[in-house]
């Protein structure tokens, strides 16, 4: 058990290292110069003043140092929890900007990922042996899962937002409001949350339902199901066993899909101008904000790694075969 988790942690550590390095490289090798755009924004016409400003900012962000030193400094700062200062909303620290956006992204991601997984599995298992459902609702699942996230998001925003007018199409809350812990604000928050949530939930739901349906059919045809049926066990018991075994690949699937789901959520946020990490990334790119981009990516990488690690643990709990493999099989 300890060796298993030790190995897992090592792999996660390596992944983290590589991801952070790439993360550091990408903005730096992007075309464009953030300092000159900052200087240009101030509108200083005097070349001497502009030059002074350039030197000041270059020095402030550490761009005057050689690349390798910037890299080492970057790691050093990272371990102190310092992601640098945002260029876009100078001089707010990146950590602060990200922490302001994270609750929105998590509030969107966690319910949509978990709910779509649970509901999809339940529905797929239910549809597996009912011809009518299998022939009517499951094709809808195929259409849903084949849909790009942003396209469904645009459709929902147009249909339920613009045409029907039931839901707002942009923002995390109304512009007229200030964030506070009042019922009014929370309701408003939920109202804005529905459409982005629905678009993420629906696309993922179709995939899980189809996967589960196929797995259940496979498990019900398997040898242990046939054996139980031959011994006259009731369908209830057979289905319970089949479900339990069919869920295992779905858990693996969840781990594999996590990255895709995060990307989907980011794009969806941009469609709805939802103030989460996705919108932040867009802003960071538009403003050549190295530090913000780096920080956001780092946060996403961390999130995906942690989620995968949790799934690893869950898998060990639910599948005895992984445990048996760790202890070594008895003769």
């Amino acid at each position: 058990m300890r060796r298993y988790f030790g190995r897992k942690l090592l792999v996660y550590g390596l992944t983290f290292f590589v991801a952070v390095t790439i993360n550091w490289m990408i903005p730096r090798f992007m075309p464009g110069d953030p300092v000159s755009s900052m200087v240009a924004r101030t509108g200083a016409s005097n070349p001497a003043a502009a030059e002074t400003m350039r030197v000041y900012y270059t020095n402030l962000f550490g761009f005057d140092q050689p690349l390798w030193k910037q890299y080492v400094n970057f790691w050093g700062a990272l371990f102190q929890g310092d992601f640098g200062i945002s260029i876009w909303v100078f001089p707010t620290p990146v950590t602060e900007v990200i922490l302001g956006a994270v609750p929105y992204t998590l509030g969107l991601m966690i319910p949509s990922v978990l709910l779509s997984w649970v509901v999809g599995n339940w529905f797929g298992a239910y549809a597996a042996r009912r011809k009518v459902l299998d022939n009517t609702l499951l094709p809808v699942g195929y259409v849903l899962t084949a849909m790009p996230y942003m396209w469904l998001a645009v459709l929902l925003a147009w249909g339920l937002g613009v045409v029907a007018g039931w839901f707002p199409v942009a923002g995390g809350y109304s512009f007229s409001m200030q964030p506070s812990w009042s019922w009014e604000f929370i309701l408003d928050l939920l109202h804005h949350w529905v459409l982005p949530f629905a678009s993420l939930f629906l696309v993922a739901l179709g995939g899980w339902a189809i996967g589960m349906r196929n797995m259940i059919i496979y498990e019900l045809e398997s040898d242990y199901s046939n054996y139980l049926a031959a011994l006259g066990a009731p369908q209830r018991l057979i289905r319970r066993y089949a479900f339990r075994n069919a869920v295992l690949p779905q858990i693996t699937g969840l781990a594999l899909q996590l990255g895709v789901l995060v990307a989907g959520a980011l794009v969806t946020e941009i469609v709805f101008s939802y103030p989460g990490l996705g919108s932040l990334i867009l802003k960071a790119i538009q403003n050549q904000d190295f530090f913000l981009l780096q920080g956001t990516f780092l946060f996403i990488v961390l999130g995906v790694l942690i989620a995968n690690f949790i799934i690893d643990i869950v898998y060990v709990v639910v599948d005895p075969r992984t445990r048996a493999g760790m202890a070594g099989a008895a003769a």
Partner: protein, 313 residues
């Protein structure tokens, strides 16, 4: 009379038509009898075994009756058949290696299975039966993956016979095992019969040599029909049906070097069961076939308990 099968017909529904896998099979078994059911692939022996306990979705009961201990088995009715399964008729499947749910500890699975059938688990009885097949009691606390192939096979044997069924169908139970394990399994099956866990047993196999060691009676099938049924020794020593003779000739014998003498084998292949020929179905491969073989030969008792379906026997 423990089992009485009368003119049983079971066809497979396919798009091309009915495959007549069992076409009028009649036989009976005594209490305590072990019946070896032999024949080549596709002769209908597995279909017969399945028909007696659980038909799969493509099989159709087209006629004939099966009586067990004086009660008729509703073999075509999946739901009504449930009352008989496990309690009256039980099965050791061909796929014992994968017959147990991989994600349940064996003991818990057995308990859940028994509870679902309205029976309670007698742990002492279960453990004594485990000892009988030389399995440690600790297997109940293990997952199937932690057992070797032979252990899984024996575990399934114990589970299948827990409710003391009247008839046990052992479907190709030895085909996946090596020779030394085969013998142990065969001995355990005889032990189960002698201990009264099962009254009678149908041992489906293509291995005539092994069958002759454990079966009291051997029944040879060909192309969906019975060819010959006789006490084991009679089948081995004095086979009457040409197919049985050829089948025995194609077995290697101990002490004979086959570098000089080639094993005979049987030329040709069995007829299609989609549209079987009229008359004797072995006719086209039979070395002694004659004119009368165009007529279907009836099953005749040529000696006490020795039945043959052949005009020339």
């Amino acid at each position: 009379m423990s089992l009485q099968v009368n003119d049983l017909r079971v066809y497979y529904r396919t798009l091309k038509g009915d495959v007549k896998a069992l076409d009028g099979v009649s036989f009976s078994m005594e209490d305590g009898e072990i019946l070896g059911l032999a024949g080549e692939s596709g002769c209908g022996k597995t279909t017969l075994g399945k028909s007696l306990i659980r038909m799969d979705g493509r099989m159709r009961h087209m006629g004939g009756t099966v009586e067990l201990d004086g009660r008729e088995l509703p073999i075509g009715d999946d739901r009504r058949m449930n009352d008989f399964r496990f309690r009256e008729v039980s099965l050791i499947p061909q796929y014992s290696m994968s017959a147990m749910n991989p994600t349940r500890k064996i003991g818990r699975m057995v308990r859940e299975l028994l509870r679902s059938r309205g029976a309670t688990l007698d742990l002492d009885e279960l453990e004594s039966r485990l000892s009988l097949v030389e399995l440690p009691h600790a297997v109940l606390d293990r997952y199937p993956i932690e057992l070797s192939g032979g252990m899984k096979q024996r575990m399934v044997m114990v589970i299948s016979t827990l409710l003391d069924p009247s008839l046990l169908i052992a479907d190709e139970v030895t085909s996946a095992l090596d020779v030394s394990t085969q013998k142990a399994v065969a001995r355990a099956l005889i032990g189960f019969r002698d201990a009264g866990f099962v009254k009678s047993m149908i041992f489906v196999t293509h291995d005539l040599a092994l069958t002759s060691h454990i079966a009291d009676t051997i029944m040879v099938m060909y192309a969906g029909k019975l060819a010959e049924k006789a006490p084991a020794t009679a089948i081995v020593k004095k086979p009457r049906h040409p197919y049985t003779k050829l089948l025995l000739d194609s077995l290697p014998e101990v002490g004979v070097r086959y570098t000089e003498k080639r094993l005979a084998g049987i030329a040709g292949s069995p007829p299609s069961l989609l549209d079987p020929p009229a008359g004797c179905r072995f006719r086209s491969r039979c070395p002694i076939a004659g004119e009368e073989c165009v007529q279907e030969p009836p099953m005749a008792e040529i000696e006490p308990n020795h039945f043959v379906a052949c005009w020339k026997a």
